[in-house]
């Protein structure tokens, strides 16, 4: 099996689905001409391979999402790219009031089989361009929210999202585009709404997703050297969220920690912690810990940005504290 980048895995998913289904189209800002295909080059070359089906749009996110919804209502399967997740705010009405609601509000008469792809996270781009809206998106009934951590998952989940009959918000952490991993040449799909154990361990359950999965795996190596074995659960889909593996895990480890990049208050971590204590309270030997981003608008300065976002060393420190009952 060849190692490819996260970016290449996404592109292969897009290419395979464009090839398989003539109703699949890709629209977004600067996905054709600019730099040969996208601010993050995920669609590079696809416009040439699929003439007329990969198109540049005006810079008008409310229309990119809204026109996508209309096309999806009419039986097209659009993949719309929002250049960064920060720009999704411009389209929030379309995402929340239309994409998420139409199927239910019109009593099943309308389907919105659309994927909204968007890079999230930080990269020395300051407060308006360095955000995560995982919990905002995941709190909306009717949306499906997916955030892969590995090239393998990225490809399989994106293909499943494209074939799904519901609106899927597909979050791509921009720090992951260059990461590499094994991806088979043969076709595979990964079902939405199914979490995965990425590492087996007996001391501490860590629930995470996206870039923080990568950081958690680095932390797990360090901690393993100290005799602390993490059981790492990758959520992969944030809504609907599959906590079945996490619960089983907590029953064995009796300790749980949630690791997320976004703001701590009202975050996904809060939701996971609340659900775990509702469901497996009797198995817990310690309070559920949260590692999360600091609650400040992201600064530009390198040292301040580094201090705002959690990395593997934060996970290591939190795990050590938990295992020595310092909470």
């Amino acid at each position: 099996m060849a190692e490819i980048t996260f970016r290449e895995a996404l592109k292969r998913a897009l290419r395979e689905e464009l090839t398989r289904d003539p109703d699949v189209v890709i629209w977004g800002e600067d996905i054709v001409a600019y730099g040969g295909g996208g601010a993050y080059a995920v669609t590079a070359g696809l416009a040439k391979e699929f003439p007329g089906r990969v198109r540049d749009t005006p810079i008008a996110e409310e229309a990119i999402v809204g026109v996508g919804i209309g096309a999806a209502m009419g039986g097209v399967r659009p993949i719309v790219e929002l250049m960064t997740i920060n720009f999704a705010l411009v389209a929030w009405d379309q995402i929340v009031n239309h994409a998420a609601k139409l199927h239910h509000m019109f009593n099943g008469q309308i389907k919105v089989p659309m994927v909204m792809r968007s890079p999230a996270g930080f990269g020395r781009t300051a407060a308006t361009h360095s955000q995560n809206f995982d919990s905002w998106l995941a709190s909306v009934p009717g949306l499906k929210v997916v955030e892969p951590a590995t090239p393998y998952d990225a490809k399989g989940l994106l293909k499943a999202a494209i074939r799904d009959d519901d609106p899927v918000f597909f979050i791509e952490h921009l720090q992951l585009y260059g990461t590499r991993g094994e991806v088979p040449d043969t076709e595979y799909l990964i079902p939405l709404g199914v979490s995965e154990r990425k590492r087996e361990g007996r001391h501490l359950t860590v629930v995470t997703w996206g870039r923080m999965l990568v950081e958690t795996m680095k932390a797990a190596k360090v901690l393993s050297g100290e005799g602390i074995e993490l059981d790492v659960i990758d959520l992969r889909t944030l809504r609907p969220m599959d906590l079945s593996l996490a619960m089983q895990s907590v029953k064995r480890t009796n300790r749980a920690m949630v690791v997320e990049e976004g703001w701590r208050s009202m975050g996904i971590g809060a939701e996971v912690a609340a659900t775990l204590q509702e469901q497996v309270f009797n198995y817990l030997d310690a309070p559920i810990a949260r590692v999360a981003g600091l609650e400040v608008p992201m600064p530009y300065a390198k040292n301040l940005e580094r201090a705002t976002v959690p990395f593997s060393d934060d996970v290591v420190a939190a795990a050590r504290a938990m295992m020595t009952n310092q909470y």
Binding site: A63, G70, M73, N97, P141, P191, D242, Q279
Partner: protein, 346 residues
């Protein structure tokens, strides 16, 4: 498109049905049978009836939330519309959407939309889907003067023109955006001129003249069907009632409303066309009145007799495709063993 005698009479019958239906809705609202926001169409009937009579029955329709008139003019059973206003399971969306979200996709009515301007991009996308699938169908997107100031208006017009899509933007200019007069809310009073910003073809028509609306939409539909792209039609009109039933309407003067009622779309059409051309006798007119009143009474009786939606359907249809492990709470997943219900719900 030349209409025969029956078709010309039908326009009147449809307008009368809408007005009677709306008056009855107001009555039922006062009796607390209908709740929430109820936006009535009295005074604007000629636009929905004129426009839809100019289109094919399978052309796509997307409207704002003042949508009862469009539903009735599209031929949706008035019983199902009234049942929806009541929030009953027999309603057009089974009691989910209510007055602002009437829809019948089977009849190519994709719904009333309640976020001002929010449906315009959807209409553009629907037009794209029809081009993509080469159906030959066009899209009628209905909006009010108030929505021509919001970002999606320009974003949608720009996109439709840029991609040359078969959509007609029909602006019902009733001179008031909720309770704000057009001179206060728009820098451009003649709304059709806004289309020029996108080099889109546009016209203005008397929205109280059902035949004028019909003719204008016929022409624009022909343009769209023959590949000449989108257009905008401004239909100048007036609504007799407040913005919604919650509006005390103190901001509009009695004189203004009474003056507008002097040019009533139903009376003008009946007097100046049907009676004048001897297409209708007084007896026939009175017969139509009786039929329409009977239909609306039946709609009320039907709504009254209909059940509320079953509580156990509450979580249905949140997703078209439920995922593995998904449980009834519709949000976070719990293992089946921990949930006492019967498993997966859509």
């Amino acid at each position: 498109m030349e209409m025969n005698k029956d078709e010309l009479i039908s326009l009147y019958r449809q307008m009368l049905l809408i007005r009677t239906f709306e008056d009855k809705s107001a009555e039922m609202y006062a009796k607390a049978k209908i709740a929430g926001f109820l936006h009535l169409y009295n005074g604007q009937e000629a636009i929905a009836v004129g426009a839809l009579s100019a289109l094919h029955s399978d052309d796509e329709l997307v409207t704002h939330y003042r949508d009862h008139g469009y539903a009735l003019a599209r031929g949706i059973d008035s019983r199902f519309v009234m049942a929806e206003l009541y929030g009953r399971e027999t309603g057009t969306t089974g009691g989910r959407g209510g007055s602002m979200h009437i829809a019948s996709v089977e009849k190519h009515f994709w719904g009333g939309y309640a976020i001002v301007g929010g449906h315009l991009p959807l209409a553009v996308g629907l037009a794209y889907a029809n081009v993509h699938h080469n159906t030959g169908r066009i899209v009628l997107c209905v909006l009010g003067d108030g929505s021509t100031n919001i970002g999606t208006f320009h974003a949608a017009l720009n996109w439709a023109q840029l991609w040359h899509l078969p959509v007609i933007f029909l602006v019902e200019n009733n001179m008031w955006a909720m309770g704000t007069a057009i001179s206060i809310h728009s820098s451009v009073i003649e709304i059709y001129k806004k289309a020029a910003a996108h080099e889109m073809y546009a016209e203005r028509v008397d929205g109280k003249d059902v035949l004028a609306v019909h003719d204008a939409v016929c022409k624009l539909a022909e343009r769209a069907r023959s590949g000449e792209g989108p257009s905008l039609l401004e239909a100048v009109t007036y609504r007799y009632r407040g913005h919604s039933m919650a509006d005390s309407d103190v901001q509009r003067s009695k004189e203004e409303i009474n003056e507008q009622k002097q040019r009533d779309p139903l009376t003008m059409y009946l007097t100046n066309v049907l009676l004048k051309r001897n297409l209708l006798t007084d007896e026939q007119e009175s017969q139509i009145h009786h039929e329409v009143e009977a239909e609306v009474d039946e709609a009320v009786a039907f709504a009254d007799a209909s059940a509320e939606p079953a509580l156990d359907t509450l979580y249905d249809k949140i997703y078209a495709q439920p995922v593995a492990n998904m449980q009834i709470d519709g949000s976070l997943i719990r293992p089946a063993a921990l949930y006492t219900g019967n498993g997966t719900h859509g």
